[in-house]
């Protein structure tokens, strides 16, 4: 009894079972993802039976014209949307950070964060209706609609890190620049912008990942033949699933993880 009944020394922070649950949580969080990645290298045709290592599904995906098409569209869309969203968000952040509260400021915040609060499906439906009307009225087709929609919902994600960076910035540096005869524009160009740059980069990265991952809004807004990688995958999930989907997922996963890791490195507070 003494051998097994020995009490663990009392610790203020320990709560019984919590560590177990937490570890379980981490295992459960990563098991499906790891499984998905592992089976993307499966030589067999089925997902659950391992038949040896092979890159054949990556080759298949690479040579699949539909996948190529969707990949290029996804990347172009994400690049454009993050570029526009970051530009707009930077301006908005400069306009709404480090200012005395004025009437309407709360409204601006609410407006910028609105895409985070409204369920995606509702926004998707709303855009479907709006763009249908515009398409009928103007006859304009193309990627514009997707770019506009993605830009809009990427703005809050780009805005947050830029604003955080601005708020943490030392005001005296700009005052010092002004004291050294810099005009407001020179101060902005030579002091504010370089200091703000990590925030802008971080914002752009988040916007890029968010755009790249979007399914719902894209699914509703896209015209026929405008598949992005996620909508292509969503369509494929209804059919017989081959490890090709795993291969595409793994590639997309890799991009997201790389971008997010860079984001972490950029925004980490120097300690």
């Amino acid at each position: 009894m003494a051998l097994f009944g020995q009490r663990r020394p009392f610790s203020i922070r320990r709560l019984p079972g919590f560590t177990m649950i937490a570890i379980t949580c981490f295992v459960l969080l990563y098991t499906p993802i790891v499984t998905l990645v592992v089976y993307s290298f499966n030589a067999g045709k089925y997902i659950a039976i391992w038949e040896g290592f092979s890159l054949q599904w990556y080759v298949a995906a690479w040579n699949n014209a539909a996948v190529q098409d969707a990949t290029i569209r996804s990347l172009v869309l994400a690049a454009l949307a993050s570029l526009f969203a970051t530009t707009l968000a930077t301006m908005a952040a400069l306009g709404t950070t480090r200012v005395k509260p004025f009437r309407g400021l709360t409204a601006i915040y609410a407006m910028i964060n609105q895409p985070l609060m409204v369920p995606e499906i509702v926004t998707a439906v709303a855009l479907l209706i709006l763009f249908a009307v515009i398409k009928v009225a103007t006859g304009v087709q193309g990627l514009y609609y997707l770019v506009a929609a993605h830009t809009a919902f990427c703005i809050p994600f780009a805005y947050l890190p830029i604003r955080a960076r601005l708020e943490g910035m030392d005001l005296t540096l700009e005052t010092a620049a002004a004291d050294l005869y810099a005009t407001p524009w020179q101060t902005f160009r030579r002091v504010t912008l370089p200091l703000l740059f990590p925030g802008i980069l971080a914002g752009a990265m988040l916007a890029f990942v968010i755009s790249l991952d979007d399914v719902v809004i894209t699914e509703f807004v896209k015209s026929a033949g405008q598949e992005t990688l996620p909508t292509y995958m969503l369509g494929q999930l209804r059919r017989v699933i081959t490890p090709e989907i795993n291969a595409i997922s793994t590639a997309l996963l890799a991009i997201s993880i790389i971008v997010v890791s860079l984001f972490f490195v950029i925004t980490r507070k120097p300690s």
Partner: protein, 309 residues
């Protein structure tokens, strides 16, 4: 005296100039957001009061039929009214699944956040990073990953079969259970992050004081830790409940055609159902529920900050 008033006039003009600058800088973002996010919601509201056209779209004629149909249905033959069971069922299922998902993410997320918050400060960022990575990876991919695990030919069933425990696969996919498992998996980080944020600030000297005053571990958890991290619990619950209620991808992939949630019902009206007005009315219903929940949250936050003053 004269110069002073002139001075304050200048200050006022300067203030006005600054406010104008704020608006000008925000204007482009606000314009895009209005055109491609908020503004269209008004159109949805308008559409919900129009008559549906036969092949999608609407006829520009006022009608409250769509709103009527959200709750009631008319018998095709004798025209008697009854509750729209299908809609109400789906609404109820959406709320129930979203609620249960919130509970399960809380049950898993609370100990996990606590675990991270009690690691040495230098290790915390690594654990946090491990939670954040899935958060920033594609929701569809994570749902797909769950699909592969719980499919009939998936990892669990194949494993159990190989182990000789079962002959026939356990049907887990295409059920409310599958949706819940998937959503818990997908939204867990949204629960952990705000919980961690408030636990990181938890003053463990208070925990020490409670133990000193004869509180058992359970009492410390119930009477000290939970009340002190309540803002995190509320924030996490909102962050999970809101997207779970409007979920579209996860129920579509894991629930199959039968186990719809509100998001899928809305989609149906714009697709095969071809009743845009009803779809619009359902969308506004979903939006209204979400707004009520958010308002409740804002009120709770305000009350908390008032109490602090």
């Amino acid at each position: 005296m004269l110069t002073e008033t002139a001075g304050s006039g200048r200050v006022e003009a300067e203030e006005r100039r600054k406010v104008r600058r704020s608006w000008l800088l925000s204007a482009p973002a606000l314009t895009v957001l209005f055109m491609a996010a908020s503004g269209p919601l008004l159109i949805v509201l308008v559409y919900s009061f129009l008559e549906p056209a036969e092949y999608g779209g609407v006829v520009w004629k006022f009608s409250d039929e769509a709103w009527f149909k959200v709750v009631f249905q008319r018998d095709i033959f004798d025209g008697t009214l009854s509750f729209a069971d299908a809609h109400l069922m789906i609404l109820w299922r959406s709320v129930r699944i979203a609620f249960l998902t919130t509970l399960t993410t809380l049950a898993f997320g609370f100990p996990t956040a606590y675990f991270i918050a009690t690691r040495p400060a230098s290790d915390r960022n690594i654990w946090l990073f491990l939670i954040t990575i899935p958060f920033w990876t594609n929701l569809l991919i994570r749902t797909f990953a769950i699909l592969e695990v719980i499919r009939n030919e998936g990892i669990i069933n194949t494993g159990l079969k190989l182990a000789g425990i079962i002959d026939q696969p356990i049907q887990m996919l295409y059920s409310d259970f599958a949706i819940m498992v998937g959503m818990t998996y997908v939204y867990l980080p949204l629960m952990v992050l705000p919980l961690y944020a408030s636990m990181e600030r938890l003053d463990f000297r208070l925990v020490e004081a409670a133990y000193d005053l004869y509180a058992s571990r359970l009492a410390v958890l119930r009477r000290i830790i939970v009340p002190l991290v309540k803002p995190g619990i509320v924030a996490g619950s909102i962050l999970v409940f809101v997207p779970a209620l409007g979920a579209y991808v996860t129920p579509r992939v894991l629930g199959g055609g039968k186990n719809m949630m509100l998001g899928n019902l809305i989609e149906l009206q714009f697709g095969a159902g071809r009743n845009w007005s009803l779809g619009a009315a359902l969308s506004i219903t979903l939006l209204a529920i979400v707004m009520i929940v958010l308002l409740f949250y804002v009120r709770a936050v305000q009350r908390a900050s008032e109490a602090r003053q």
